[in-house]
Amino acid sequence: MQNPDTIDRRAFVRLGAATGTLALAGCFGTEDENGTDADPDDDSGDEAGDGTGDDVTAAPELIEVEDPPEAVYVPTHREAMRMLEPIHEGDFALAPMLSYPHPFWVIAGGGDDDEVERVDPEDGRGVHMMFTLWDAETGIVLPVDEGAQLRVLRDGEPVGSPRSPWAMISQEMGFHFGDNVPLPEDGTYTVEVTVPSISTRKTGDLEGRLEQSETMTFEFVYDDEFRHEVVEGVEYLDEELWGQRGALEPMEHGHDGHDDHGGDDDHGDHDGHDDHDGHDDHDDHDDHDDHDDHDDHDDHDGHDDHDDHDDHDDHDDHDDHDDHDGHDDHGGHHVPYSALPRIEAYPGTRLVDPNADEVAVETSDLPRSGDAAVFATLLESGSRLADGDEGYLLVSPRTPYNRVPLADMSIVATVERDGEVVAEPALEQTLDDEYDLHYGASVEGVQPGDSVTIAFESPAQVARHMGYETAFLEMPPVELVVEEP
């Protein structure tokens, strides 16, 4: 697909360290080997011309975070993108988005789960093409990779080969599909996106839906206006934030000038979605107080909107589940963000960290594995999700700040009582209209006080944008206990 510059995480770290070291080395030695002064006008041998030699040319100097934590971290900047009008076909809805070509990281799949490959754009001319896919009726973003394809055409002729976009997560956009797509020249391009039927287990209102593959088409103009729009819209963060543990809020938040209109969920306004300037107003950060308003919308779909916590964890849970009822009452192009429900929205008996002082009330308080927040609950027998009279073990791993689902993992739970294994179910990835993406299995006889080990046999097989690429890789087991009444 592209030309991945394969590196493992340690190599990635070295790259970052080397860049800084080289730059510093230049300070200490600007004389050449003969002891003569380096001449900035001297073109010989040093293409970079900065006294740092070819190494720097090979590793372009970027504003980047050195030695990012092995966790979710705040990147250097907020990307800008042009958001096109969503399109609907059959059960699917799709919102295309375009940005400038940029690297992302994919799971290497080379045997070591902690390997990532940085995928650089294969051509500087082109776009980073993305789309969010969701169920048109429930508004559930479909965070599973079932093999979508996209074809780019110009004047009816194919531009390059068909591509299989990567399933990706980014802090701003949540789960989406994307790839860097080279474009030979300015012009109007047509994109055909074929989404397959969703074979992932579906429950609730999603059951029986999304069974038919669909092809959707959109057009966009690649020109100077676009290039300036997506580059000039980039917002660099204050550098003291770079690399801190934390995350950008979803792009709806703080970037569409929420104004508390009646407490309605304005997240979907994406003010600029239809006029392609959705990111011109970066300065229009709404204050966090506005976020409280969004809780109002959880009511729409039965999700409790408990609190008006001003805590950060709440900032991102607004548009996700109000979308689930399919309302698009914003008069614009509401693009749902793939945030999972808040933990209070799940029924059942919680599985808790036996060493924690208190039960988690926010996603950010949950036990972590590889910085993924791991929520688990045991639904009582008779749950619609369970087989027969069995209970249902529901595990919901998610990003710790924006609650983005971590898809395509392999998870096994081991239930023990008095040191004896009483159940060891493999959890099946499931899409539910109420609980969204989770991993679950019917279980019998699990009791309060039982210990449950959640083992992640493979991490989320999704590509990552900056800020997520060092997290959710090595995921050691999480030990939980079924909460006593």
């Binding site: 995480r9 340690r10 970079a48 011309g49 900065d50 934030l241 543990r245």
Partner: protein
């Protein structure tokens, strides 16, 4: 006072690299700028000048660009140089070779518009032929500045503004601009228009961890591990890499792991560099 260009060349290189190192290390706070994933840095060299009223001196505007991910360089460049016209007059502008770097057949086609009424020099340059574009750290122009005879001791800023650079792919680059200060007759109180430029550290739109070690304790698989740097992995390979001893400080809230020590080194080296330049000139 007129700086000797040959004397200044060593210092130019030294300061260029140190500025870049400082930027890479986070020491220099870039002005908010139009930006993509890669950047063009435009800075004045020397960045600090001591001169007397009636003197003239030269300043290089150095441009540093490392191209995009595919080694495409820039072929268009523009910026403005702004100054107080009551204090300075720009007597001459010389286009330099940065934009032609990497191709002996490439030329810089440029224009310079001096407006001494407003105190602005507008520079526009193109590389012909564009080829792969310029990837270099070199002077783009040299300006000759004259100080009025009747200036009281003061410290003035020569600003770079409206920087723009375009890759051969037609994508604009991010541009960070760094200014210069001129101390006249020993200098005076500086009007620091940029003093508040970075006062707004409000992390709007960002959710930070409440605690750098946050995360449930679980069985030790959660937050405790998560507090480590990626360089600090279980193999120890990361920690063994050069200069990583400070990485662990990220657990103590160091905003950018490794930043503090690196910045200190850069600060010391920059000071030494400046002293060397001063002694040579």
């Amino acid at each position: 006072m007129t700086l000797d260009r040959s004397d200044a060349s060593y210092g130019r290189v030294l300061l260029s690299v140190c500025l870049l190192a400082a930027l890479a290390a986070g020491l220099v706070v870039p002005a908010p700028a139009l930006a993509g994933d890669s950047v063009t840095i435009v800075f004045v060299e020397p960045s600090e000048v001591d001169a007397d009223s009636g003197d003239s001196f030269e300043l290089d505007v150095v441009v540093s660009d490392h191209g995009d991910y595919n080694a495409n360089g820039i072929d268009e460049l523009s910026f403005d140089i702004e100054y107080d016209p009551d204090v300075f007059t720009v007597a001459d502008v010389e286009h330099r070779s940065m934009l032609a770097a990497g191709d002996p057949d490439a030329e810089v086609v440029g224009s310079a518009e001096i407006d001494d009424e407003t105190g602005t020099v507008s520079i526009e340059q193109e590389r012909e032929p564009s080829g792969d574009g310029a990837i270099a750290t070199e002077p783009a122009v040299t300006i000759t500045v004259e100080i009025a005879d009747d200036v009281s001791p003061t410290t003035e800023t020569i600003d770079l503004t409206n920087g723009a650079a375009t890759l051969v792919t037609d994508y604009p680059q991010s541009v960070f601009e760094r200014d210069a200060t001129v101390a006249i007759d020993g200098g005076g109180e500086q009007t620091d228009a940029d003093a508040d430029a970075n006062a707004d550290g409000d992390p709007d739109g960002v959710t930070l961890a409440d605690d750098p070690d946050e995360g449930g304790s679980g069985d030790g698989t959660g937050g405790a591990d998560d507090g480590s740097s990626a360089a600090d992995d279980e193999s120890g390979a990361g920690a063994a890499d050069a200069g990583q001893s400070e990485v662990a400080e990220s657990d103590d809230g160091d905003p950018i792991p490794g930043f503090a020590a690196t910045a200190s080194i850069v600060a010391v080296v920059a000071a030494l560099a400046y002293a060397l330049v001063a002694s040579r000139s």
